[in-house]
């Protein structure tokens, strides 16, 4: 009773503006604004209309739709393709588990991934590469996500176990993809046959996982009071940041071999991964250093006063605060690493963009369809990096770093 009385006396916050008021405020607030709105609306509609009508009616998507497997795994032997399937399924399983454990954005990603799988599995089209087995595999991935979800709901499954699982996946994936020599079950597959999205994701994931610890180490090295260590780290960081990624890629693909024993041979893809890692590590190091500088000295003194060792102070006091402060910058660095993996095309590795280019060049007919191919490639890159930036923004809000949104 009392509550309702108080409610009646309280001044209510203003209602959100109605549609008419919104239009007046945002489109016709002044004469200049009104003129601009009237001029822009037809242009926007014309552009939208021409893009949509081109994409639906006049574009010829053959060069895209004929080769789904080429775009995803490149020339990976078709009879060994189940290995990629196993990796994909385990990723989906862990995605489901993480969804069950943490929810949030992972829920939307899991649902979207499951939906994409189901829709692709049920596509009512005849396609030689979308046979019964492939449809069954795609359908089972949705089941994997759901199984994962219920596993994740079990309280006994600890967060640390899931994180370790996520870290183990790339290692297992590489072993499984490369195969073991003289093995019946998983024979060797040379990396020259790997390609497409598979290589793009391997380079991006590998680059992120390897460059981050290296970057943290370099940041500590630069701040260290040992002149040798800090000098070396500083020169390393500044030189790498001063030259373009293409230079580093060529350096690792041409020059590195000269500085190693003659008999040693490092795989082409590994060299590209090393280049991407080293490049990204230098930038991560500067980001992390910014975070380290932002941790107040009092925190370190307090930790020391409590009798914590140097290592403990660093791991439990300094790093968590430093990384939290520069999370947006680190996320941005990862996104640009993902986009930068395209540069491996220049040293002749068939990543997603490279496969698109070789498909265009494989047939004079497809040269005419390059518009469709490049737009498709741009769209896929756009979706993944947009998802990454969305995830980073959600994470920032969840951690209370950003004040917008």
């Amino acid at each position: 009773m009392i509550n309702t009385e108080i409610e009646q006396e309280m001044i209510k916050p203003p209602l959100p503006p109605g549609p008419l008021k919104w239009v007046k405020e945002n489109l016709f607030s002044s004469i200049f604004n009104s003129v601009m709105t009237v001029a822009l609306i037809p242009i926007v509609f014309y552009l939208l209309f021409s893009v949509v009508s081109w994409a639906l009616f006049s574009a010829d998507w053959r060069a895209v739709t004929q080769f789904p497997l080429l775009y995803t795994v490149g020339q990976y032997p078709r009879d060994q393709i189940w290995r990629v399937g196993v990796i994909l399924s385990s990723i989906f399983l862990f995605l489901g588990i993480s969804w069950g454990r943490w929810g949030g954005l992972l829920r939307s990603i899991s649902l979207a991934a499951g939906l994409v799988c189901v829709v692709t599995a049920l596509l009512p089209v005849q396609h030689p590469q979308l046979d019964q087995g492939m449809r069954l595999f795609l359908g089972s991935n949705t089941v994997m996500i759901l199984i994962g979800y219920f596993i994740g709901r079990i309280k006994a499954v600890k967060a640390s176990v899931i994180v370790v699982g996520w870290l183990l996946i790339p290692i297992c994936a590489v072993v499984l993809l490369a195969g073991i020599e003289n093995s019946e079950l998983i024979p060797n597959v040379p990396t020259t046959l790997w390609g497409g999205l598979l290589v793009t994701f391997l380079l991006a994931a590998g680059g992120i996982l390897l460059s981050f610890p290296l970057g943290v180490a370099l940041a500590f090295g630069r701040r260290s009071d040992l002149p040798v260590l800090s000098g070396f780290s500083t020169i390393f960081i500044e030189v790498i940041r001063g030259v373009p990624l293409v230079t580093i890629l060529f350096m690792f693909s041409i020059i590195l071999a000269l500085f190693l024993p003659v008999e040693s041979r490092i795989d082409r893809l590994v060299r590209a991964l090393m280049a991407v890692t080293v490049f990204s590590a230098a930038y991560s190091a500067e980001n992390v250093r910014g975070g380290l500088q932002s941790v107040p000295l009092g925190q370190i003194e307090a930790a020391k006063a409590l009798g914590m060792s140097n290592l403990k102070t660093t791991v439990f006091i300094v790093l968590p605060q430093a990384l939290r402060a520069v999370l947006p910058a680190i996320a941005g660095q990862f996104i640009s690493l993902f986009k930068d993996t395209t540069l491996v095309v220049i040293i002749g590795i068939n990543d997603f963009l490279g496969i698109g280019r070789s498909i265009i060049n494989s047939d004079p007919e497809f040269v005419q369809l390059r518009t469709e191919v490049y737009i498709f490639i741009a769209l896929i890159y756009w979706i993944f990096s947009y998802l990454m930036s969305l995830a980073s923004r959600r994470l920032e809000t969840a951690m209370g770093i950003s004040d917008n949104l």
């Binding site: 945002n26 489109l27 607030s29 604004n33 601009m36 709105t37 822009l40 609306i41 926007v44 009071d225 040992l226 002149p227 040798v228 260590l229 070396f232 030189v239 940041r241 001063g242 030259v243 373009p244 990624l245 293409v246 230079t247 060529f250 350096m251 041409i254 020059i255 071999a257 000269l258 500085f259 190693l260 024993p261 003659v262 996104i335 986009k339 930068d340 993996t341 395209t342 540069l343 095309v345 220049i346 963009l353 280019r357 390059r370 518009t371 490049y374 737009i375 490639i377 741009a378 890159y381 756009w382 990096s385 947009y386 930036s389």
Partner: protein, 396 residues
């Protein structure tokens, strides 16, 4: 090495392995040994490989004749000239595309930022779509879109697209009518240069006087007036025709005359500057939004006209936030210009790549390329950092 006797005092009986001083020295030596060891190991390997392959490690080859053609060199070049000259051509190309790119990206990026902040919802959304599109696709994909898709659809020479200007567009490039100096043009240019110098000096002196005495010295109209007087004078001295429009004309096979932009240059320039403009737009927007709203309200309250609110209150404060990330965007643009290799634009890196393939002088050529980019980066950040220091808060 760990002679611990004199270091341990009698009072504090710390074992040597817990003495911080000794740990530090030990870590120092250990890290030095590891780093230097790896370097020496690499260098020994390198000399072995160099011996086995008969590689030259000197820069003497730079004087030899290059022997490869470069399409559309911006400065005089032919294959009989030296490798050093070929590098210069590449360097000029790099500087051209990144210099022009920086200017265009700054202007366009600022416009996009203002559009993004506009109170007009549609304009702001258009800017948002532009920014999100360019920020989330790789630069190389954007470059291919411009070079292979947009410039790939351009017609043959005979069916050139004609734009008013006159501008002609075909497979060989973009041809723009361009003013060229006539014989008397030199006088005009000299006069114009003197005029610009004099008006800048007058501007600085009068503005300083204004700042010291507080009296109106009309520094802007005075210097602008001087500039116009000098320009008119130069115009008259040169007989009224300092310039002649060089209009591209069709000669049966190709267009001659005018300013020609190759598709490679145009594709590189457009994709680089549009890509960077999207990032610059976000930097500028962040800077403007970071200015305290109270500052703007206070400026309006004391009766400053809108232009002065922008130039005296918003911009000086926004620039402090904008400049440091802007420097890194400029550096990124310069470094990203090395992607020119992918479409055959002959910048420093592409020329270097040809030399490596031709002559097998991988190491010196690579050292040269890295030094070029390093000095470009250092120079850019040095100049901009001086500017940055000038506009930061002066704390006394």
């Amino acid at each position: 090495m760990t002679n611990n006797q004199p270091l341990i005092s009698d009072k504090a009986n710390i074992p040597f392995y817990r003495d911080e001083r000794i740990i530090k020295i030990f870590a120092q030596v250990l890290s030095a040994v590891i780093i230097v060891g790896i370097l020496i190991w690499a260098i020994i390997n390198f000399f072995k490989a160099a011996d086995a392959r008969n590689m030259t490690l000197t820069f003497s080859f730079l004087k030899e004749s290059a022997g490869f053609p470069i399409s559309n060199p911006p400065i005089d070049y032919d294959p009989s000239m030296s490798f050093a000259r070929a590098f210069q051509v590449g360097l000029v190309n790099t500087l051209l595309v990144s210099g022009l790119g920086i200017i265009f990206a700054t202007i366009f990026g600022t416009l996009i930022a203002l559009a993004r902040l506009s109170s007009n919802w549609i304009l702001s959304r258009i800017a948002l779509v532009f920014i999100e599109f360019h920020r989330n696709i790789p630069l190389l994909v954007l470059l291919f879109l411009w070079y292979f898709v947009v410039f790939g659809m351009v017609p043959q020479v005979k069916e050139s697209i004609k734009w008013p200007g006159p501008i002609f567009l075909n497979k060989r490039g973009i041809y723009i009518a361009w003013p060229r100096l006539t014989e008397t043009g030199g006088i005009f240019v000299t006069m114009a240069a003197i005029g610009i110098l004099v008006s800048i000096i007058v501007f600085i002196i009068l503005r300083k006087r204004r700042k010291i005495t507080g009296k109106a010295t009309y520094y802007l109209p005075a210097s602008l007036g001087l500039l116009i007087v000098f320009f008119l004078f130069g115009w008259l001295l040169s007989g009224g025709t300092p310039f002649q429009m060089d209009i591209p004309s069709f000669t049966g096979i190709n267009y001659q005359g005018g300013l020609r932009l190759t598709p490679e240059f145009a594709g590189m320039f457009l994709s680089l500057s549009l890509y960077t403009a999207a990032f610059i737009a976000e930097v500028v927007r962040g800077g403007i939004q970071a200015v305290d709203k109270g500052q703007i309200e206070a400026a309006r309250a004391i009766g400053l006209p809108p232009m002065q609110v922008l130039s005296l209150v918003i911009m000086p404060q926004a620039l402090r936030i904008i400049i440091p990330p802007m420097i890194s965007q400029y550096l990124n643009l310069t470094k990203n210009s090395s992607l020119a290799l992918a479409i055959g634009f002959q910048d420093v890196f592409a020329v270097g790549k040809i030399v490596i393939n031709q002559a097998g002088r991988a190491v010196p050529v690579f050292a040269l390329i890295m030094l070029t980019y390093l000095s470009l980066s250092l120079l850019t950040s040095f100049v901009l950092n001086i500017y940055n220091r000038r506009i930061q808060f002066v704390t006394r």
